[in-house]
């Protein structure tokens, strides 16, 4: 299955990735090759098969978390890795709604 450049651009927009024109071309080719390989899954009749959505068997899960507060980070810890901050906020360019 060949992926068009337009498809590549649509997916890149959804994924918030800026691609160079060279990357777009390369990805169109590579993704098409991978999708060709993946197409073999279509050989199987899976109409009666339940999807395995979770890897842990249901009975193995532990009880849910009790509603008890745990200690928070200090704002200094929370913001220590922030590329930009203003006061105790993460700073970003103006958001236009």
């Amino acid at each position: 299955m060949a992926l068009s450049l337009d498809e590549v651009r649509r997916v890149a927009r959804l994924a918030h990735l800026r691609l160079s024109p060279e990357e777009e071309v390369a990805l169109a080719g590579q993704l098409s090759a991978i999708l060709d390989h993946v197409a073999q899954l279509g050989e199987l009749d899976v109409s009666q098969v339940e999807p395995m959505t979770h890897a842990l068997a249901a009975g193995d899960a532990a009880p849910l978390r009790p509603d008890e507060p745990w200690p928070c980070l200090t704002p200094e810890q929370a913001l220590a890795n922030a590329p930009a901050r203003q006061g105790t906020c993460f700073k970003v360019p103006r958001i236009i709604e």
Partner: protein, 485 residues
């Protein structure tokens, strides 16, 4: 063609913040406000390598709500990721439920213009709230991101498009709010956004069977806004259809200053949220035993309670409806009535006081029921003093107000403020005699029938008694003495 040739079709999506102590997927407190980013941890900051840890209390509240609304509870429900980018969404996806929500179906009954109407629910699901973007945090116009609210647990309650007018929408929202308040799962605060609603609005010609294109209206934080927004939007859509123009499927924001809805510039891509089951959380299992336990724990719901007040206590339906809107108020009412012997007489008086003077004080102070210092025992005592003639109606008001604010003992307030009513006939008679003796001319005019001066004499007597005479006794004595008897 006027609006009346069209039928509005409405469905509401309500987001209700659950009254848990901690966030849905981490142990940070849900406390409102605070300095930005003080109620955060690596989980709700969406740091690398952290995992959501679901709170059991959120599931309990969701099931309780579903049971109260007659929903089917899924034995196995599944969280899903809703993927989109926004600064207030730390992980780049919201953990919500999609294909297998915890509750499905159900509904609630509302009364509009004296007619009952059943509004069906589509689903109820659990999800996390986003953080908050703050605008113009610095001189260069930058925005700031505060994640204190990120991860606060929400129930999203989605109705079928069963509502047909702004009145019905408002009634539905009020009824739903009162049920959540009764269950104790939500604080019902529209202004602060802990109970918020979006409306899907479309119009069709009366008699048509296919719904029109709908717009989703956001940002209504009061019942009044909801009414205004729906009415505006219905008018707008009818005008479009009349003019032969299409209604665009879009999200519109209600502007409370102008009473209008306006289009949010549609984001450049049609939303493709790429939902898929959340692999970090196992399916949520709700065994039958848990459902049974929660069903048994369901409190009496507002409509049933109001019906009981009308049938068993003889309250007017309007009064009953006001009392049950909020569980704490209704509980207060029940306790007061019980203390006063439980009959219709006691109920009528307690209801009048709660819906009257107490409601006024609540409005004035903004205190939620439960936060009042006035207790049912207090109010019962005041009613007892009033019934026994120990205080006047005006005195009772003063006592209730003071007790509401200070929590002091009513009898002590009566004492301290000298509100005790003089009912002793002998004492009052002496004053009446003195007043009549001091005004022979007025007595003469009254007796001659030239002018009814009863009011004047009552005023004089009350003045002499510093306003604390029992009006009934004063009136009776004056009538007896002036009536020529």
């Amino acid at each position: 063609m006027p609006v009346s040739d069209f039928q509005a079709v409405l469905g509401l999506e309500v987001h209700a913040q659950l009254l848990t102590r901690t966030k849905i997927f981490c142990g940070c407190p849900t406390t409102f406000g605070g300095e930005p980013n003080t109620h955060v941890c690596p989980v709700c900051l969406g740091m690398p390598g952290v995992l959501p840890v679901l709170s059991g209390q959120v599931v309990e509240f969701a099931v309780l709500t579903g049971l109260a609304l007659g929903c089917t509870i899924r034995e196995k429900s599944v969280f899903a990721r809703k993927n989109y980018f926004y600064p207030d969404l730390p992980k780049g996806y919201q953990i919500s439920q999609y294909e297998a929500p915890i509750c499905e179906g159900g509904g609630l009954t509302i009364t509009v213009d004296g007619r009952e109407k059943h509004v069906r629910l589509t689903r109820i699901h659990m999800e996390e709230d986003a953080g908050k973007n703050l605008h113009d945090v610095s001189a260069d116009g930058s925005s700031g991101v505060d994640l204190n609210r990120a991860g606060v647990p929400l129930l999203e309650i989605v109705s079928e498009p069963d509502l047909r007018s702004a009145d019905e929408a408002v009634e539905y929202l009020k009824a739903l709010r009162s049920i959540l308040l009764t269950l104790g799962v939500n604080d019902g605060n529209l202004e602060e956004g802990s109970f918020r609603c979006d409306a899907n609005v479309s119009v069709m010609r009366k008699g048509a069977t296919r719904y029109g294109t709908r717009a989703e209206i956001k940002n209504m934080n009061s019942f009044r806004h909801l009414r205004q927004a729906v009415e505006f939007e219905v008018r707008r859509q009818v005008e479009l259809v009349e003019a032969g123009q299409p209604v665009v499927q879009e999200t519109r924001l209600f502007d409370p200053d102008r009473g209008e809805t306006r289009s949010m510039r549609s984001k450049e891509d049609a939303h493709d949220y790429r939902y898929f089951p959340e692999p970090d959380l196992p399916p949520v299992l709700v065994p039958a035993a848990q459902v049974a336990r929660l069903r048994a724990a369901l409190p009496e719901l507002p409509r049933a309670r109001a019906a009981r007040y009308v049938a068993a206590l003889g309250l007017p339906p309007g009064d009953a409806a006001i009392l049950v809107a909020d569980r704490a108020t209704a509980d207060f009412f029940d306790a007061t009535v019980t203390l006063r012997g439980g009959g219709p007489e006691a109920a009528r008086k307690a209801a009048n006081w709660l819906n009257g003077e107490v409601a006024r004080l609540v409005n004035e102070t903004g205190l939620a029921a439960g936060a009042w210092r006035l207790t049912p025992a207090h109010l019962a005592r005041v009613l007892e003093l009033l019934d026994g003639g120990a205080i006047s109606g005006a005195g009772a008001k003063a006592v209730v107000e003071e007790v509401f604010r200070s929590g002091a003992d009513p009898a002590a307030v009566v004492q301290a403020r000298g509100l005790a009513q003089v009912s002793d006939a002998g004492a009052i008679e002496a004053v009446v005699d003195r007043v009549l003796a001091a005004a022979p001319a007025e007595v003469e005019r009254h007796r001659s029938g030239k002018k009814d001066l009863t009011g004047f004499f009552v005023g004089q007597v009350m003045k002499a008694l510093k306003g604390q005479g029992n009006p009934a006794v004063v009136n009776a004595l004056l009538k007896q003495k002036l009536g020529g008897g």
